[in-house]
Amino acid sequence: MIVNLYPLKEFKLPVIAECINPEVFKGKSIEEIGRLEVWEGNKQRRLNELFKLEAEEAESSPEAPVITIHGDVSRVRRIGAGMKNGEIVVKGDAGMHLGEEMRDGKITVYGNVLGWAGSMMRGGTIEVHGNAGDYLGAPYRGSTEGMKGGKIIVHGNVGREAGAHMKKGIIKIYGCAGQFVGFRMKGGTIYVQKDCEARVGACMVDGTIIVGGCVESVLPSFTIEGLRKRVKIEEGEVVEAPFYLFTGDLTENGRGRLFVAKGPNPHLSHYEKFL
């Protein structure tokens, strides 16, 4: 089954809708789905008060329904939170906490997403064709339980603290990234194809960060290990270019690996004298 959701209005207040989840929709008729509860500001509403719902039968019948949202839902939070299977497609912008703690399945956004997309993710895939906000894949403020698995692909730019406290999994960013990429990272891989603001890998203990573009500066608590001709991002994806390899963060006795492309970073050439 494919369920299509069309927002009935432009949302002015934040909407909390963790029920937009294939797991919840599964086995329900369109009327039952419409009666699911959501919050708009401090008022409880039914899903069909905010969205027009349409169901169509899929050609191939997947196990869990595919949910497609047509329109701007940038005020709708927690879409696909905790989802375990199925697929969500958002043809527009999506709000905060998209796919929070998701375990499996796929979310595709043909627009931008706001903060905490894929927060505390355990598995599955999130693909964003626009930009992503701050705290991509990072836990809620104060928590140390970061991303533990899964994959996030962003084709645009991302905000600050992408992949903070990450333990496992992969984040691929084909645009630029803000400050503190991989803050307090404990494992996993983050790839930033373009430029990166400062403080990459601050307090990281383990894991890998690869930056293909220009980095403002590398933290003084990172030490240079050598030059590499190519870097493998994941199975079947290798970047062929010379990279500096740094390890750190030494303030945390870290063994994290930070690859920074040599070409776009002539200001880091002074590190070569230590090799």
Partner: protein
């Protein structure tokens, strides 16, 4: 307003009522002999357990460090949100709930009196502001006096009577309820980056030992006739091998006991019943402590039970919190409260699969089950140090059912399981004993005359739980016990029904109890002159701004105490 609770199985240990089917009459917030049946509102408690409202002797619910804990742990709150209803306010949990939520959650479980056990005198105003904002329950707070410079000086000079006058003034000034002593001497030593290792280790700059502080304050407590004994968090808390310190502490005040009355309360005893030389050889020392307590009557304990969950540890024991930080590497705060005390906070996750954590879980229950007299041991989690108070129904189930204990034992660390004493203990508490460890014993230890029982004249604080002890065996149906205690069928506070079926029906303010200690002769002038001079020298707060005035409390409930000095 009149109220009649009909036909419940009443458990009222202070009056010796053990599960008898009887009616309880309430008029104007007090329990009375009888009421006009035609006028009174009737609650049918047929097939239900009726107990006095729960009393918690030790639960960190308000004050500077509780609030610092809330700020330190935003991640603790966002998954545990309570929306507002027509009568209640919104709030968040989990291990350090906001003030309103704290009051509602206690009331939902049938608890009506809660003691906040650690109030730095300097932060008394903050503590009372939060207590005033904690609805429904009655509460009080214990000022931390064990490392207070004046106390140390008086005790060093052997001036017990002067010390007693000073403590009396302090209790009145902070609107406190009992003398709280945390790691005596250790907190002062922590100001110099040190700690005290034993009862006879001198405190830097004061030349006094923890033994002298404990004994001195015990004597002060007796001179002032305070209703509760001194409330002591022992030295070396949280270190392997500390059960010896706990035993030594209990022994050091043995000779001060009179007429078999308790003179000391060792709080969250689980944390000071560790045997072994280090964490690898760590074992339970519960048996030794229980043997001692079984043979002596001058000591009461509370459990400080550990729950397997993510919680926040917070205590005035700064050096211990620092040790905990070095053990866990978690975020932490540590604080020195001028001349008074210290404080620290570290988030902590008790895990089933950890040998040490699982053994700690076992120690708490071993203590409760091995100590034969339930009046000597009280049920607490040292909220939030061992776990949030919302876990009380689970502890009650463990205490009442061997089956419940075995179900958890199967899931814990295998080494801890094989060393635990729990499989060899067949004791299962009944509702009468549960009423003692959760309310009657605590009220008695606190000297609360109108709480913890259902005799005529007592405050009408009543909890009714939907569990029929006649048709169901709590040892077999432990899940039903847990459900019943989680959501009280009715909670009645001051004669008004505040909770029905686990839902709060009514918002009301609870009172803040404090001791109005009346000395034989007034000595305010001399005390004030001396104090004022010292305040100018050492404090950041002016003397005039220091005491908490009575109008500062939302509902003040002074309890007069006549002292011997």
């Amino acid at each position: 307003m009149e109220l009649l609770i009909r036909n419940g199985f009443v458990f009222d240990p202070i009056n010796g009522v053990n599960g008898e089917k009887m009616d309880i009459a309430v008029k104007d917030g007090k329990i009375v002999d009888k009421v006009n049946e035609s006028r009174a509102k009737t609650i049918d408690a047929t097939g239900m357990v009726v107990m006095p409202g729960g009393v918690d002797i030790h639960s960190h619910i308000a004050g500077g460090k509780v609030n610092a804990g809330r700020l330190l742990r935003p991640e603790d709150h966002f998954k545990d949100v309570e929306r507002k209803t027509a009568v209640t306010r919104s709030g968040v949990g989990y291990s350090i709930p906001s003030t309103f939520t704290t009051g509602y959650r206690y009331a939902r479980m049938g608890w009506t009196t809660v003691m906040d056990p650690a109030m730095p005198p300097l932060e008394a105003k903050h503590t009372h502001e939060e207590l005033s904002d904690t609805p429904i329950i009655d509460k009080a707070s214990y000022p931390l006096l064990g490392d207070w410079w004046f106390v140390l000086e008086y005790l060093r000079d052997g001036k017990i009577e002067e010390c007693a006058r000073h403590v009396a003034w302090m209790i009145k000034a902070t609107k406190g309820y009992a003398i709280k002593v945390v790691n005596p001497g250790g907190l002062e030593a922590w100001g110099y980056g040190r700690n005290v290792e034993s009862l006879d280790d001198p405190v830097p700059c004061f030349g006094i030992t923890p033994r002298e502080i404990i004994r001195g304050l015990c004597k002060v407590n007796k001179l002032l006739h305070l209703p509760h004994t001194i409330h002591l968090h022992t030295n070396n808390l949280g270190k392997p091998g500390n059960y010896l310190t706990a035993l030594e502490t209990m022994r050091c005040v043995e000779d001060l006991a009179e007429n078999g009355k308790p003179v000391i309360h060792i709080t969250h005893c689980q944390f000071c019943a560790f045997k072994g030389d280090d964490w690898r050889t760590f074992q339970s020392g519960a048996e030794e402590i229980a043997n001692y307590v079984n043979a002596h009557s001058h000591v009461t304990l509370d459990m400080g039970q550990v729950i397997f969950t993510d919680t926040t540890t917070m205590t005035a024991d700064g050096p211990f919190q620092y040790t905990l930080y070095t053990l866990t590497g978690n975020k932490w705060t540590n604080h020195d409260v001028e001349t008074e005390t210290s404080a620290g906070i570290v988030p902590f996750h008790y895990k089933r699969k950890s040998y040490v954590h699982a053994t700690q879980w076992s120690i708490g229950l071993e203590l409760a089950l091995l100590i034969k007299d339930p009046w000597k041991i009280m049920m607490t989690t040292d909220h939030p140090n061992g776990g949030p108070f919302t876990a009380y129904p689970r502890i009650i189930a463990w205490l009442m059912s061997r089956k419940a204990r075995e179900a958890t034992l199967r899931k814990i660390n295998p080494k801890a399981r094989s060393r635990s004493l729990l499989p060899s203990i067949s004791r299962e508490l009944d509702f009468y004993e549960i009423a003692i460890v959760t309310r009657a014993g605590q009220a008695k230890a606190l000297g609360l005359k109108n709480k913890g029982h259902l005799g005529v004249g007592a405050d009408a604080d009543i909890a009714i739980y939907n569990f029929n002890p006649e048709t169901m065996d709590p040892a077999k149906n432990y899940r039903a016990v847990r459900r019943a205690f989680k959501r009280a069928a009715y909670t009645i506070k001051g004669g008004q029904v505040v909770v029905k079926d686990g839902e709060v029906l009514k918002h009301m303010d609870g009172a803040t109890m404090w001791l109005d200690v009346q000395l034989c002769e007034p000595c305010e002038i001399e005390l004030n002159e001396n104090l004022k001079r010292r305040f100018k020298e050492y404090w950041t707060v002016e003397f005039e701004n220091y005491p908490v005035s009575e109008d500062y409390l939302a509902v003040s409930h002074p309890i007069p105490v006549k002292a011997d000095v």
